[in-house]
């Protein structure tokens, strides 16, 4: 089973695009889907059960929807966790790491409020399509 994690806060405008894209995949027979405001170490327990994991997150002023492998080095974390930190923690604590990918979706407005900016909304169909392809093409 694959794992899809949408990251972001839907009350901070475009930051909510990760959960929005992940929500579109809910019910998939191929993946377990969840949405979180931020990554936390307990998610390592879910990573160890997954064959692959896809992190979906907003990217500040990103140029386009981007799918890529998670870097295999921690960021030197402090207050927050990046996907590569969670993958590294999973490896060190549990010895098992799924194949890890990120799907970055451009965002421009991270202020208070619900709903996406026009620019982020324009990337939403493409992002959902990329996530669905990720699920289907690699199963």
């Amino acid at each position: 089973m694959d794992l899809v994690i949408g990251i972001g806060n839907p009350l901070r405008r475009d930051d909510g695009i990760g959960p929005r894209v992940a929500g579109a995949l809910e019910g998939s027979a191929f993946a377990s889907v969840c949405a979180v405001q931020e990554l936390v170490p307990e998610l390592a327990l879910r990573l160890r059960e997954a064959r692959r994991v896809l992190f979906i997150d907003a990217e500040v002023n990103g140029p386009n929807v981007r799918l890529g492998l998670v870097e295999d080095s921690p960021s030197g974390l402090g207050h927050g966790f990046a996907p590569r930190d969670l993958v590294g923690l999973s490896r060190e604590a549990f010895g098992e790491v799924p194949e890890a990918w990120t799907l970055c979706v451009p965002g421009v407005d991270f202020g208070y409020g619900e709903g996406l900016s026009d620019r982020a909304a324009s990337f939403l169909p493409r992002a959902i399509d990329a996530a669905a392809r990720w699920l289907l093409e690699r199963t």
């Binding site: 307990e42 030197g76 974390l77 207050h79 060190e92 604590a93």
Partner: protein, 473 residues
């Protein structure tokens, strides 16, 4: 001439703050200040909302302690409705708060503080975090992750979700617990107990000397917290007790609604965080502490066998009621043990599965106070309402605020001990931060800040020039 060292922000705490160390002409520390630099003013946001909305609204103050705000707010609502919460509702609130204590203390110890304690204050800053700890102590981190996940899952099974559950309401809770969820929680407790027993053993073996335990400051203060009517450790109901540094009871059996009889609040121009103090001694002499150390120092016993044995050993090691800041970590582990034991007791109570969980009523009082023990200490919600239950005034005193004077004292002691003739390095500054971190402050709650900035440390000379600057991302 004086110069200043700034540490901004303080890392691995919830929210962010700044530390300024004032050096005298010889380069020794003359003063230390913990600044909380953001203001969001939640009390003002509450005005105009109804008392029924308050648990959900105030839960949003914090992503770590939403449960604590929900429960304190619901208790204030109970007082305004003037209802008696059904026994099952009280048991469920109790169970959720025990889960909250477990998850929050596990977060504080395993994720935030253990890297300093087990890797060393001066170890490589890039590795001095939970990920670096996992490289060295994978088993400990694995257990810590599972322990916190257990606490979080308990909250989710009770409240429907682990963060901001809209569950406790004025009059009780809004849904009963089903048997399957009760059995799931009960089935996980043995593993959680094993984890905290092993961690307590490790902690006591690793930090055996008085010098190590005095590392983060050792000073007398008062302590405040809820206790049961017979003096047992308490976190949901009970009465307020204040003891002095020697354990002498100064105030006992105080109705929490009368908190203002003992607590007054001061403010300083250099911080948005208020400075509560014990009214009878005045400001700043009336410094008191709350939280794990405060609760252990005010209670007579836990009333559960393993934690009572640990409390006895703890008091033996500290020669009574300890004033060592470092012992916040120790007390936190003991409270995890006590919480798990008490969860077992609650789960065995058949009343827990009753569907009668909420009393309903209209507005029967125009003022209500809810006092509750959050993981970081005593949490006070105080509301005044109009005849329709609309909030006209609110006062929130959160755990981190109670500890404000003591946090400042702690960093002053550490800085004076470690910084001599203006010489310091990152490891020493991390110890100063560690003095704050031991209190596990939640700045999100206390002034409601979010976010993270790079850490900047500055030494400023007599003419205001920056002589030394350290930055960490």
């Amino acid at each position: 001439m004086e110069r200043e060292i700034h540490i901004e922000p303080v890392t691995r705490v919830e929210g962010h703050g700044k530390i300024t160390l004032h050096l005298d002409a010889k380069g020794n520390v003359s003063d230390a200040r913990f600044h909380v630099t953001e203001l969001r003013g939640f009390e003002e946001f509450c005005v105009g909302r109804t008392v029924w909305e308050m648990p959900v609204l105030t839960a949003r103050i914090c992503g770590i302690c939403p449960v604590s705000h929900i429960l304190a707010s619901a208790k204030a609502g109970d007082a305004i409705l003037a209802v008696r919460v059904p026994e099952t509702g009280l048991l469920l609130r109790r169970l959720m708060n025990l889960g909250q204590l477990v998850q929050s203390h596990a977060l504080s110890f395993f994720y935030l503080s253990a890297p300093d304690l087990l890797l060393g204050w001066s170890s490589d800053p890039a590795k001095r975090n939970v990920l670096g700890l996992a490289e060295k102590r994978g088993d400990l981190v694995r257990r810590g992750i599972r322990l916190r996940a257990f606490g979080q899952e308990t909250i989710e099974r009770l409240g429907g979700k682990r963060i901001h559950p809209a569950w406790a309401v004025p009059g009780g809770v809004n849904r009963p617990l089903d048997r399957a969820d009760r059995d799931w929680i009960a089935s996980r407790i043995p593993e959680a107990l094993d984890t905290v027993r092993a961690t307590l053993d490790l902690f006591k073996k690793t930090f055996a000397t008085a010098e190590e335990c005095a590392l983060l400051g050792d000073f007398p203060s008062l302590y405040m917290g809820l206790v049961a009517s017979d003096g047992r450790w308490e976190h949901v109901e009970g009465v307020l007790r204040v003891v002095d540094a020697n354990g002498k009871v100064l105030v006992d059996g105080l109705d929490p609604a009368r908190y203002r009889d003992v607590v007054a609040e001061a403010s300083e121009t250099w911080s948005y965080l208020k400075f509560p103090f014990y009214r009878a001694l005045g400001y700043p002499q009336g410094m008191y502490r709350v939280g794990p150390l405060g609760r252990l120092n005010v209670c007579d016993r836990f009333g559960t066998p393993e934690s009572d044995a640990e409390l006895e050993e703890y008091r033996g090691r500290g020669s009574g009621r300890t004033g060592r800041v470092f012992d916040y970590h120790y007390a936190r582990l003991i409270e995890i043990l006590a919480s798990l034991e008490q969860m077992q007791n609650v789960l065995q109570d058949e009343r827990l599965l009753s569907p009668r969980v909420r009393a309903e009523a209209g507005i029967n009082a125009l003022e209500g106070v809810g006092v509750h023990e959050a993981p970081r200490g005593t949490l006070i919600h105080h509301y005044k309402v109009d005849e329709n239950g609309v909030i006209t005034w609110a006062n929130l005193i959160v755990s981190t605020g109670h500890n404000n004077l003591a946090m400042n004292r702690s960093i002053l002691e550490i800085a004076r001990r470690t910084i001599k003739n203006g010489v310091f390095d990152e490891g020493i500054l991390n110890q100063v931060e560690g003095g704050i971190r031991a209190f596990d402050p939640c700045l999100s709650c206390s002034v409601h800040a979010i976010g993270r900035l790079p850490l900047e440390v500055q030494v400023v000379g007599p003419e205001g020039e920056v002589r030394q600057r350290l930055v960490r991302d």
